[in-house]
Each structure stands twice: as C-alpha cells, then as structure tokens.
Symmetry: C2
Subunit: 78 residues, 2 copies
Amino acid sequence: MITPADKKILKRFGENLRKLRKDKGLSLREMSYACSIDNSKIAKIEKGMINITFTTLLQLAVALEAHPAVLLEYAPAE
Amino acid sequence: MITPADKKILKRFGENLRKLRKDKGLSLREMSYACSIDNSKIAKIEKGMINITFTTLLQLAVALEAHPAVLLEYAPAE
DNA sequence: TTATTTGCGGCCTTATACGACCCCAAAGAT
DNA sequence: ATCTTTGGGGTCGTATAAGGCCGCAAATAA
C-alpha cells in the first residue's frame, strides 16, 4: 500500500538513478531509447513517483550498461 | 507484457531466492513472518510466477538479513 | 498411525504499474 | 528572436502485483 517510508526509499533510489544517468551523459529521451521505457516514466521513477517492477529495474540497467545490483548500491537516506 | 525472456529471468531470480532462504534455514512461513509477505506469495516469487516490485524486493532482503543487491547477484541463466 | 509442518496453487478484491501519448515551460542552441 | 532539446506533469485503458485467505498433498515428526 506504499507507505511514507517506502516513498522515501523510492525517492532515494530515483536520485541515484538520475545520478547514474547523468554520469553517463544521457538525456531522458536518449535513455528512453536505450531501454524502451517511455521518457516520462523514467522521469517519474527518478522522482520516486512509482514503485517499479523487477523487469523495469533490469531494463534500466541495460540502458546504463551496468549490472542491476549497481542500481541498488547507493548510500541510504539518513 | 511479460515476455518469455522475462519469465526466464524471473524464474532464475526465484531459484536464487529459494537458495538464499534455504541457506538461512527458513521455511516459507517463517520467512513470511519475517518480512510480512504472505507465504503463498513468496512461493510464487520463487517459482518465477510474479514480477515483484521494488518494495517487495526490499522486504525480501529484510527477511534474509541481506543487502538488496545480494538478491541480484547470482549466475545468469545460460 | 496420527498429528504437524511445509510447499504451493487457486480465488477474490483492490491498488497500482505499465504503455502510450500529449503538451508545456524552461533552457540551450542557432 | 526562433527553433530544438530536455525535464517532467497529466490522462486513459489495460495488465497485473499486492494482500489475504483456503485447502490440500507430500514430507516429517511424534
């Protein structure tokens, strides 16, 4: 049922995703093209607005050319 | 739309999850209790029958007392 | 043999992720 | 000043994850 605590975690995840995308020098649309996920959806993920599924996580990893686990390795929110 | 390729990946993930649970000596019901996820749902996840969300992944990690990324670190299906 | 645990599939309702698309405001480029 | 890119919010229909409960067959324990 998506608690406030979850919201926070999703937001933190989104921030990290955004960082990884920027580091790779990709725009939302470029990344969208690279993993077949609508750019507005990626924007929502980065904003922590949606609780993505496992397969979506894997798709994002494809665009970033990174191992899926990498997307989870970030400093937790304090 | 959950492709056959995704099915395979989810199944592989499930097998790994099952291994981690067994290694920890937990029954489905014990694990259910440890992460507040219905035992039948965990069984379905292990069977690769559902495409779990990010928060569910985190809950599973809690029960296994492991970092979420660990659940993704397994040998890919060949 | 009987009682208990364990794995797991089915069913139902509700919440929500997905996919696709539109549009706009701000920033950058020409 | 005009064109283009970029981030990102809103909407709609559909698919499906979540959550919870029931029941059963096989394995295990008593």
